[in-house]
């Protein structure tokens, strides 16, 4: 596929999603209102806890803001892969999309990039509301380090999303993976409180979840302005997760897609 063809198809996908989003008028406004309400809730929670609680050397509100904002961004990104497949199954477009000249893996990537673009806009809104509206100190942020952590976390979220999409095709229950991350694992990743407060067995489990390192790295960059030697551990672990999960998830997706075409279950949901 040429670069122009890639840009054309990506543009068409982003336009489709944008048009669909703005035509769900209330949904669009409610998302923004929901994000504002969440930021406000965390601000007052941090005030109620008091200034004495300084997890990992930061004020509690920015700790919460980065943790919940980035965690939500990653889980929504993972969920978007699942939603893409589920909606295509429900609207009957999946089989038709599979007959277009664009390979299925590319279709998934276009839709996911489009979804991540929307989620990034929400993340910026969330951080913006927290840092500007509630005057949370940003400090001397290491923006380059933050961009690297962001990109690696994005690759990991995409891999987990592709796995969720593959599960949806295979057993029509991709939501299991999203539930595990969204409900089962969130408290272990250091979203609301430091991982160090957990008992040892749970700390070991937390070390196996890539999002733990994403939140850790992002807080180091944005709240403490950590330099690259201090970021080395987070970045190298994230890199290893991304390098392993991305090819593995693509192989699993390709295999489940082939199986669904063989069994005629592509549009089952």
């Amino acid at each position: 596929m040429s670069l122009a063809g890639f840009a054309d198809k990506l543009g068409a996908t982003v336009r489709r999603d944008l048009l669909t989003a703005v035509r769900h008028r209330t949904g669009f406004l409610m998302t923004a209102a929901g994000a504002l309400a969440e930021v406000a809730a965390f601000y007052y929670l941090a005030r109620a806890v008091g200034p004495g609680f300084r997890p990992e050397g930061s004020d509690y509100f920015p700790f919460l803001l980065v943790g919940t904002g980035f965690y939500t961004f990653l889980v929504m990104g993972i969920n978007s892969f699942l939603t893409i497949v589920q909606e295509a199954q429900q609207t009957g477009t999946l089989e038709v999309l599979m007959t277009t000249s664009t390979p299925p893996a590319a279709l998934l990537v276009f839709s996911a990039v489009s979804a991540f673009a929307g989620n990034t806009a929400q993340l910026i809104f969330y951080f913006g509301a927290g840092f500007l509206l509630f005057r949370s100190p940003l400090g001397q942020a290491n923006l380059l380090g933050g961009a690297i952590v962001f990109a690696l976390s994005l690759a990991i979220a995409a891999s987990l999303g592709i796995l969720a999409a593959a599960l949806q095709l295979a057993i029509q229950k991709g939501s299991v993976l999203v539930w595990l991350l969204g409900s089962g694992a969130w408290f272990m990743t250091g979203t609301l409180f430091p991982v160090a407060s957990l008992p040892r067995p749970l700390r070991v489990l937390a070390g196996m979840i890539p999002i733990t390192y994403s939140l850790d790295g992002m807080r180091l960059c944005l709240l403490q302005g950590a330099d690259f030697p201090a970021l080395f551990h987070s970045i190298s672990v994230l890199f290893l997760f991304a390098a392993t999960l991305l090819p593995a998830s693509l192989a699993v997706f390709s295999s489940t897609l082939r199986r669904a075409r063989l069994e005629g279950t592509l549009s089952f949901y």
């Binding site: 089989e95 038709v96 599979m98 000249s101 390979p103 082939r258």
Partner: protein, 266 residues
């Protein structure tokens, strides 16, 4: 070279009952949807697939479109194998599916076609003109900027046909394309199929309508219980009655309409 070739193709669907099947009564086992079917369609030919419900017509079309893969045998489109060269096959095939629900409901007809045109590599410079032409040919120009969620079944079906033709494919697959169309639209559609044939496209059309088969077919193939029961070249002299007799003789089903018409005339 034949445009579409099915060589000894078999397709099996497996049914795996859910856990705790004692709560309900879901059937397990296998369904042989196609059994050793061989077909060849030449360039510019219109092949009409007839057959009772569940005879394997849609399965044949889905196998050619790469949505399904064969269990045994192989399917070739323009010389490419659907199993190993699916991306190449998809560039040649346009598929109007039977289900009306195959669009993004909150996009307009034009926006839907623009999206699919991009995915199908329709050149940007000619895209708008191509979409206008397809909308006109399918009688949807006036509804081009309405949301698809407000479309009737017939309109969605016509939009599906427009989408299948957008990339000017060499192979066009039409699954019960006039099922929801009014008689006037159906007749206009048959003219469109004959135009496709004159432009050199190969058309495979699944239908239950003998009128449709007589209007557009070069060859009629009858599927029965997943097997190719027979085929008949259609000539200018072939009538709807000829096709009806051939169908019922081939499938062995009783033509109950004879009794109904005889009764009504008596």
């Amino acid at each position: 070279m034949d445009t579409v070739v099915l060589e000894s193709v078999s397709k099996i669907f497996r049914h795996r009952p859910a856990l705790f099947n004692w709560l309900g009564q879901e059937r397990g086992g296998r369904t042989r949807a196609l059994d050793n079917v061989s077909l060849r369609v030449s360039p510019g030919e219109v092949l009409v697939l007839l057959g009772p419900n569940g005879s394997g017509k849609t399965t044949v079309l889905k196998l050619i479109s790469t949505v399904l893969l064969p269990e045994e045998g192989r399917v070739l489109v323009e010389g490419s194998d659907t199993r190993h060269q699916a991306n190449r096959v998809r560039k040649h095939v346009g598929f109007a599916v039977a289900s009306e629900r195959s669009f993004f409901p909150r996009l307009t007809a034009r926006e839907n076609l623009e999206f699919f045109a991009a995915l199908d590599d329709v050149p940007r410079v000619s895209r708008a003109a191509m979409i206008d032409r397809m909308l006109k040919q399918t009688g949807l120009s006036d509804a081009a900027d309405s949301l698809v969620m407000k479309f009737s079944s017939g309109m969605q079906q016509r939009l599906g046909i427009a989408r299948a033709l957008l990339k000017t494919p060499s192979v066009i697959l039409l699954d019960e394309p006039t099922r929801s169309l009014d008689p006037g639209s159906a007749t206009r559609f048959w003219r469109l199929v004959r135009d496709m044939k004159e432009r050199g496209s190969t058309v495979l059309l699944a239908t239950h309508s003998f009128n449709e088969a007589a209007a557009v077919a070069d060859i009629v193939a009858v599927l029965h219980q997943g097997a190719l029961a027979g085929s008949l070249p259609v000539r200018n002299t072939t009538t709807v009655e000829n096709l009806r007799s051939f169908y019922f003789d081939t499938t062995g089903d009783a033509d109950e309409s004879i009794g109904i018409w005889a009764g009504s005339c008596a």
